[in-house]
């Protein structure tokens, strides 16, 4: 791994090959950059310049104007700032929580032995079914939930212990990771109802909790394989010196896996930053995030391209700057997960 970024391939490309390579790479750069260029110049266009037909070059084809930027940043002021602030808070907080929870779970799945008994799992599922039946018979939900948990606890302590068949670590990991296959649309309606019952709809808390749940599987997937590559001897030494589990995790494992953590954090942050569907269900005005604000510019008078461009630029600015600085970590962190995945 040390050599990963400093080892150029042994090919010294021939001049002809170099020309072809630059042509293809240049072409793809144009493909990537042209839409972004169009976004930037649209944000400086007057509505009439957009509607009159394609104008390509500022100062030559059309006179750039700051009207859209002024409208979004000054006239709308707080109405732009609030969604931006929401996006930052929800993105960062949910990513940090997902990283802490997922990281510790991934570490535990690598270093501990778990043997969840099938009997316990079956009892647990049975209790959930019981709760739903009770709820349908008209029992208020807090009573149903508490009763279900109490019954589960009693059964767990008595009957559940008798079944000896157990699952292993790989089963838990597979189960956790397979949650990534879950289409958000399959769970969003019940989540909506849950937050409605807890009167958390249209709060940042609801979004943070949901994003943590959605992102946990990918965090566990990527970090589990990262932790597997950390030599166990270091941890043994620390254990002999009397360090607790928590200390070993905090002061040895985490510092050693910074590249993996950074890549995972960025991956998860970008997801939470850009998420649209769940935010659409779970927020209204108060916890509105940037993607929703961009869509809201699609007014009855037709889409307001200039405002959309400004908002999109404001939104992608921070992530692009981060991506440029952390580019090395992204590749490195994702690779380890992908090799072993």
């Amino acid at each position: 791994m040390k050599n990963l970024f400093n080892s150029p391939s042994p090919f010294k490309p021939s001049p002809g090959m170099m020309v072809i390579s630059y042509l293809i790479l240049g072409f793809w750069s144009v493909v990537v950059l042209f839409p972004l260029y169009w976004l930037v110049i649209t944000s400086f266009k007057l509505p009439i310049d957009v509607n009159d037909g394609p104008y390509y070059i500022p100062f030559v084809d059309f006179q750039p104007s700051l009207h859209a930027w002024k409208y979004i940043l000054v006239d709308l002021g707080n109405d732009t700032l609030r969604p931006f602030f929401n996006t930052v808070v929800v993105g960062v907080v949910s990513s940090v929580i997902a990283l802490v929870m997922g990281g510790s779970a991934a570490y535990a799945l690598v270093r501990f032995q778990y043997r969840p008994r099938i009997g316990v799992i079956v009892t647990f599922l049975g209790c959930i079914a019981l709760m739903i039946v009770a709820f349908n018979l008209g029992v208020p939900w807090p009573v149903a939930v508490i009763a279900g948990l109490v019954i589960f606890f009693l059964l767990w302590q008595t009957i559940g212990r008798r079944f000896k068949r157990a699952l292993g670590n790989n089963d838990i990991s597979f189960w956790l990771i397979s949650q990534r296959m879950l289409p958000p649309v399959a769970v969003v309606i019940p989540i909506f109802i849950i937050f409605q019952q807890l009167s958390l709809l249209d709060t940042r808390t609801a979004l943070v909790i949901t994003y943590v749940a959605v992102n946990l599987p990918i965090v566990i997937w990527l970090l589990r394989d990262y932790f597997q590559n950390i030599p166990i001897e270091l941890e043994e030494c620390a254990a002999i010196d009397g360090a607790s589990r928590y200390r070993i995790f905090w002061s040895i494992v985490l510092p050693l896996s910074v590249p993996g953590l950074v890549a995972t954090f960025l991956f998860v942050l970008v997801f939470a930053w850009n998420e649209y569907l769940l935010a659409l269900f779970l927020s209204r005005a108060h916890s509105q995030t940037m993607p929703l604000l961009i869509v809201a510019q699609n007014a009855t008078r037709g889409p307001q391209w200039w405002y959309m461009s400004v908002l999109t630029l404001i939104m992608i600015g921070p992530v692009i700057i981060m991506a440029i600085f952390l580019e090395r970590y992204i590749a490195k962190g994702l690779l380890v997960g992908a090799v072993k995945g």
């Binding site: 050599n3 042994p10 090919f11 293809i24 790479l25 793809w28 750069s29 990537v32 839409p35 972004l36 169009w38 037909g53 394609p54 929870m101 510790s104 779970a105 535990a108 270093r111 501990f112 032995q113 043997r115 647990f124 349908n136 767990w156 157990a166 838990i172 956790l176 949650q179 296959m181 289409p183 649309v185 399959a186 769970v187 309606i189 019940p190 909790i209 949901t210 749940a213 946990l216 941890e235 043994e236 254990a239 002999i240 607790s244 589990r245 995790f249 850009n274 649209y276 993607p291 961009i294 999109t312 992530v319 692009i320 991506a323 580019e327 590749a331 994702l334 992908a338 090799v339 995945g341």
Partner: protein
């Protein structure tokens, strides 16, 4: 869920280290308890969150998909209707929306279907002769072959000239065509960028950018670009005679637009991981082959490609899982139209929810989940295992 506290953990086993020395003071007893419980403390939060926000909602969704929900004064009415919602989607009035309009199979369709069946039978025959043969394996493989035959049968009937693809077929088209483009483009770009070219760091950063942009923004961006009247390619459309109508208004034009924007956004993901894999590969075999006078193509096909195959199967799997959930792009770019030509399954479910058909919405979501699971399991067992072994 139950963590067996008696099983010694590997660290303690290896080092002979034991933490329970008989706690004397209250503090150390608490510490000892914390230490014993640490295995639960580490993993329980994640499991609880997933249980509460994935599994529990999933169970409720299942129930919703089996019922009809009516909004009445001051609340709602849930009636259990059995599999009615699913029946409607697969065989009933919603079939044209979900699967599409099925036309008679043309001779090309028969050819494709026949080729697939022959291929599947050949695969099963080879498996039953192979060294890894088990009865359960044969059973699962036969089941998979049957399911995929049905899917191919649906595909050749709806992707016909006379047929109309529904949301399920649309999603499959987006997933397969999109991933094929993303993978091949990502691989080509990664191969070119690993060469010893001046300025390759610049290209690497540029190529990474689209991945970071919100899909909503990408949708609007491509809506501007594909506009035949005021978009930047307007002169080109006029030159080829497309100027007076929007190509996004035709079914396949709209699908191509969605696939192009999806490819634009997700090629970077393939690119960045494949690039890291290429740069991490062992150089000795390549140097040896160069000394022996192998051509570049031979080196790529016999040395480089096998080395990056395991990584490739994983990135394709990740994209596979994510691509089935596509919604933002078709929703923004084409609004699922014209008609339902670009409506993906997630969008179908979302629109059903918006028209307050909660049961139908949940049923579509469940069918999507089943579809993803079938494809992911088949992919992992039939393709990925074979190539990723030995890693």
């Amino acid at each position: 869920m139950n963590v067996d506290g008696n099983t010694p953990d590997p660290v303690a086993q290896l080092s002979g280290y034991k933490d329970s020395q008989g706690p004397s003071s209250r503090v150390s007893r608490l510490g000892g308890w914390m230490e014993q419980a640490s295995s639960s403390v580490f993993v329980m939060p994640a499991i609880l969150v997933v249980l509460l926000l994935s599994i529990f909602p999933l169970v409720i969704s299942l129930y919703l998909s089996l019922s009809r929900l009516k909004f009445v004064k001051g609340g709602f009415d849930i009636n259990y209707v059995g599999f009615a919602n699913y029946k409607k989607l697969l065989f009933g009035s919603e079939q044209r929306h979900f699967i599409g309009k099925m036309a008679d199979i043309s001779w090309i369709g028969w050819l494709i279907l026949g080729a697939f069946v022959v291929l599947a039978l050949f695969g099963l025959w080879r498996y039953s002769r192979g060294p890894f043969f088990t009865k359960m394996g044969l059973f699962w493989r036969t089941l998979t072959a049957l399911i995929f035959t049905v899917i191919v049968w649906i595909l050749v009937r709806t992707l016909n000239v006379e047929g109309l693809p529904g949301t399920m077929v649309n999603t499959l088209v987006f997933v397969f065509v999109g991933i094929a483009f993303q993978y091949s483009l990502g691989l080509i770009l990664a191969l070119l960028t690993t060469q010893n070219l001046p300025g390759r760091r610049f290209f690497r950063i540029i190529f990474l950018l689209p991945m970071m942009i919100t899909p909503v923004g990408v949708g609007y961006m491509f809506r501007m670009l594909t506009d035949t009247g005021k978009g930047p390619f307007n002169p080109i459309w006029f030159a080829v005679g497309l100027g007076d109508f929007s190509w996004v208004d035709t079914a396949w034009g709209a699908r191509i637009a969605v696939i192009i924007s999806d490819t634009w956004q997700w090629t970077p993901f393939m690119f960045i991981v494949l690039l890291a894999a290429l740069e991490g590969q062992a150089l000795e075999p390549i140097e040896a082959a160069l000394v022996d006078g192998a051509s570049r193509w031979q080196i790529f096909w016999h040395i480089t490609f096998p080395q990056i195959l395991p990584v490739s199967t994983t990135v394709v799997l990740i994209r596979f899982i994510e691509a089935f959930k596509i919604i933002d792009l078709p929703h923004i770019l084409t609004r699922g139209g014209p008609g339902i030509a670009t409506e993906s399954l997630t969008l179908h479910s979302f629109l059903a929810w918006r028209s307050l058909d909660l049961g139908g919405s949940a049923a579509v979501a469940y069918l999507l989940l089943i579809l993803v699971t079938i494809f992911a399991l088949a992919y992992v067992h039939l393709i990925r295992r074979r190539f990723a072994e030995g890693i």
